[in-house]
Symmetry: C2
Subunit: 221 residues, 2 copies
């Protein structure tokens, strides 16, 4: 086990108390001037890969930290730690999403006043994390083009709560029946203001656009 990775194993406290902890998280982030995004998607949509690629590009200029949520394993934290960015792995055990009290516990373990950008990678679940306030500045939803065009309408909350949708694995387009215009229409039908950015772990264009969007959001906070 890499010593730079901390692992927090905790059953989430009950949801009714979540808003209390989310407000505390918001307050701490505000005082330390740390911008916080919460990445939400199905398992395997490419959150960790996007995160690793993003950190490689920005962590020299922007002080980052990462909180990884998974029911079990520290696989993702191990991948993140190779970028040199501080990371805390939260194992949620039976819980299907991160809760704000877990984020608060993590904040107390991080040098928050030295961190400009905190990225939370939520548990792989397109449904439940969307309804849970972690005190973040914004939610970002990822949708892999292998998942089908109609997911925004079938599971609308993640797409209505998010300010941006990253459409991932665009490089697989030649091998799939996937209609990008139809998917974008589906997303915009539940959130007319959503920013849509196409990305691929094998092409840099989309990554550059995503990073620029993220930098603009940090600047505008």
């Amino acid at each position: 086990m890499n010593k730079s990775i901390q692992i927090l194993k905790t059953e989430a406290k009950i949801l009714q108390a979540n808003e209390f902890y989310a407000d505390k998280v918001r307050d701490m982030l505000s005082k330390s001037n740390t911008y916080c995004v919460n990445l939400i998607s199905s398992p395997g949509s490419g959150k960790t890969t996007l995160l690793v690629n993003t950190l490689h590009q920005i962590s020299d200029a922007i002080a980052c930290a990462v909180i990884e949520g998974d029911q079990q394993t520290s696989n993702d934290a191990r991948r993140i730690s190779k970028t040199g960015v501080p990371v805390i792995q939260v194992n949620t055990l039976q819980s299907c999403h991160l809760n704000a009290d877990q984020i608060l516990t993590c904040l107390n373990e991080l040098p928050l006043h030295d961190i400009d950008l905190l990225i939370i990678e939520n548990v792989g679940n397109l449904v439940c994390p969307a309804s849970v306030d972690l005190g973040e500045n914004e939610k970002i939803v990822l949708l892999s083009i292998t998942e089908g065009e109609d997911k925004p309408e079938k599971y609308p909350l993640a797409f209505s709560e998010a300010n941006a949708m990253l459409l991932t694995k665009i490089d697989l387009l030649p091998h799939l029946k996937f209609d990008i215009a139809q998917c974008e229409k589906s997303a915009r039908s539940v959130n007319g203001n959503i920013e849509i950015i196409q990305t691929s772990s094998f092409e840099s264009n989309g990554l550059d656009k995503w990073i620029q969007w993220l930098k603009n959001r940090i600047r505008a906070k």
Copy 2:
């Protein structure tokens, strides 16, 4: 809207009561000699496509019915209804999984004594549906090879509860970094008895194996 599709919109009753309804479902299925499987996976792993292909192959010989679970839309029920098999769409709204009381409501709408095989397609969510007893005979988990090898260890409950794992979208293997042996090892580390079947919507070999496995289970009940 196709008149053969029924849509049930309901907020799920509280989980504590679930076991009461699951027992009632089990009792009804037993009395009508109907075999029931509950398909669980992330959104977009290919449950509906597998189901359509399966129904085309077996519904002449085996009387089938389908219950479709999604938070919103009747897209999947529309696809199923084209096979001629009776289907009920349950829109779970805020709920992230089907509950047994919803299945019970559906059973009262179906000619159960004429149905040999009832297939439930749960809400697209690899996490939450795994912990909910619907009164089914068995759970089947689907994992698309686009989702990564380590998902069984990261989200173990679905894989420990299921009797079979269908590894879907095998045709995409040449375009991905995916190690099948590693994924099978991950699945077997959480469930030593799990049957693993590779499938693709573009190749018939895996589908035949899955259908034979399913027929054997129905016969052995």
